[in-house]
Symmetry: C2
Subunit: 339 residues, 2 copies
């Protein structure tokens, strides 16, 4: 593979002149420059990125960390949409994306190795020590969703409107007369589960209602587990008249359990899905949905991180992306459902 040296030899100039010419710096005569550029093309020359990062102290790469199994990361519409947004925005700013999925290594290590100029953590778990290390070591980083506490120079967060959207969905169901509202959550080590459960509880309190913990199910975020848990919920003496699914991976499991029992939606049970999947649009009846704009989350993360990397600070340390509440046909009044 060609190096700057060979070009220099072929053009009968020094390495410095070649470097200047190829980097479009001034101080090279037009004829010499043209000659060098032509030779470089003929030799299919490209600069060695490692050598460059050595002198320039810049990798041109953003690390995308997803602390989930690859299976989960790539099958979940949420992560896919976030990646989509990241990819768009990174490309627009000439950064490449390095994927770090389900990796046990320290998050800072990729930065210390100079493999990446900064990292994005998607699906951060509450109290993951590696995220804290990221902050303490001052590595440029953007975290979703949120970060426990503290203000750090090089750390920003992006959040979707978890609390507000869930609160709205639960209030809506309560308004329809529902009292036994099942809530299929993911793991409680996820901020998504945590914040949304708080919203659920608050909505009940605001309507002077007690909420029954029996209707709240903590899943491992898989379809299989959602299927199982929904089964248990429907087996209760007083089965729920409505159910909220916390994300796209759980919704199919919940629906399959409902379908398998021949229950009618929304006549016998109302369903609200939180998520961003297009494929779930196919379900009949069309689902009442809290639509999470995951693509916008990805775009925002990339934009903020690049600002952090290039300027050392960012305009807005904590961004919250609004969600939509779309009422369709899977929710109806609780009247006449017995119980």
């Amino acid at each position: 593979m060609a190096s700057i040296k060979e070009i220099a030899k072929a053009a009968q100039v020094s390495c410095s002149t070649v470097s200047r010419a190829l980097n479009h710096k001034k101080g090279v005569s037009t004829e010499v420059r043209d000659k060098i550029i032509k030779i470089a093309e003929d030799l299919s020359y490209f600069p060695h990125s490692g050598a460059r990062s050595l002198v320039q102290n810049r990798a041109g790469v953003i690390g995308v960390i997803i602390p989930r199994t690859s299976e989960f990361a790539f099958q979940s519409p949420f992560y896919n949409h976030v990646l989509l947004g990241l990819s768009e925005m990174a490309g627009r700013h000439d950064y490449n994306l390095m994927l770090i999925i389900n990796d046990s290594r320290s998050y800072t290590s990729f930065y210390y190795r100079h493999q990446v100029d900064g990292v994005i953590v998607v699906g951060n778990r509450i109290n993951d020590e590696r995220t804290i290390e990221l902050a303490e070591k001052n590595v440029p980083a953007v975290i979703v969703p949120g970060f426990p506490e503290g203000e750090y120079q090089n750390l920003a967060t992006v959040n979707s409107e978890n609390f507000k959207s869930t609160h709205r969905a639960v209030s809506y169901l309560i308004g329809l007369g529902h009292r036994k509202i099942a809530f299929v959550l993911g793991s409680m080590s996820s901020k998504y589960s945590f914040e949304r459960l708080e919203a659920y509880q608050k909505a009940f309190r605001e309507h002077d209602l007690d909420y029954d913990p029996a209707y709240v199910a903590e899943s491992d975020f898989t379809k299989t587990d959602a299927y199982r848990l929904m089964g248990e919920l429907l087996d209760l003496d007083q089965p729920p008249t409505a159910v909220i699914c916390i994300n796209d991976t759980l919704t199919p499991g919940v629906l399959q359990q409902i379908f398998s029992r021949g229950l009618k939606i929304p006549q016998q049970i109302s369903v609200v899905a939180i998520g961003c999947s297009d494929l779930l649009d196919l379900v009949l009846p069309p689902l009442t949905t809290v639509r999470v704009p995951a693509e916008a989350i990805g775009q925002t993360m990339a934009r903020v991180l690049i600002q952090l990397i290039e300027t050392g600070h960012c305009n807005k340390r904590h961004t919250v992306i609004p969600t939509d509440f779309i009422i369709r046909e899977s929710t109806g009044p609780a009247i006449g459902q017995g119980g």
Copy 2:
């Protein structure tokens, strides 16, 4: 950030000794080694990957090239599953993944820049000149699906059983009495579309039937286009009694068109889906499916590429991954459908 030099100073030894100790090479006394390792940890030392790639001529990175819009790449279950397989296998062999989505740059350039040790092209378009360049410049590469022709030292291909599986699906429908079988394809610049159309034609020929090109629709691989084309197909004087959807992105559009007209599956129209989506399992009635094991495709690609990179050759230059044909409830006899 700490370098080998600082460690050397702190340990009062030379750089070479530090390098040897940290790389677990012999020729370092145990006490010196332990001392060096401790200091390295204290200083959170990690080797500079650029400097290393300069000396070792190895990046430890696999380039994953998807010549599609990021939107398409991340929303298509096929690409997601392939990425899943890639990610698993790469991680197991200590390679990182660099994502190159919808990028107009030459594929070889990433290799020439020493950013990657080899590349994987997912969703190669027939006659994409950049793929040919990859082969001619002898860059370690694995292509899916297939590659026009020629044998190259550093190039391998992975294919799913496109022809055979489609052939089986069409034969099955013909066996059920269907004659007007619509086939919603993607772009004809995709080898998937091309090979599957050939299989479709061959199945008709084998049954001494003429196939009518009017039933073959070439889409742009989007759900919207599938919806539109299925509309046109159903508007024909002699509408199809069965339809085959060539992949997961098209299936939802086709189904929505069918649902929107209130047509019953399979009584009024039979549906066969080709793909690998789990979410589509939710559709009622359960779809007869050609299941493409995309995850296995990804795993195989990574395995072969790594062998190519590390040994300079591979055991099997062209791998074909078998598909499953799963008969469920969306297909039925063509009898009594008029026409």
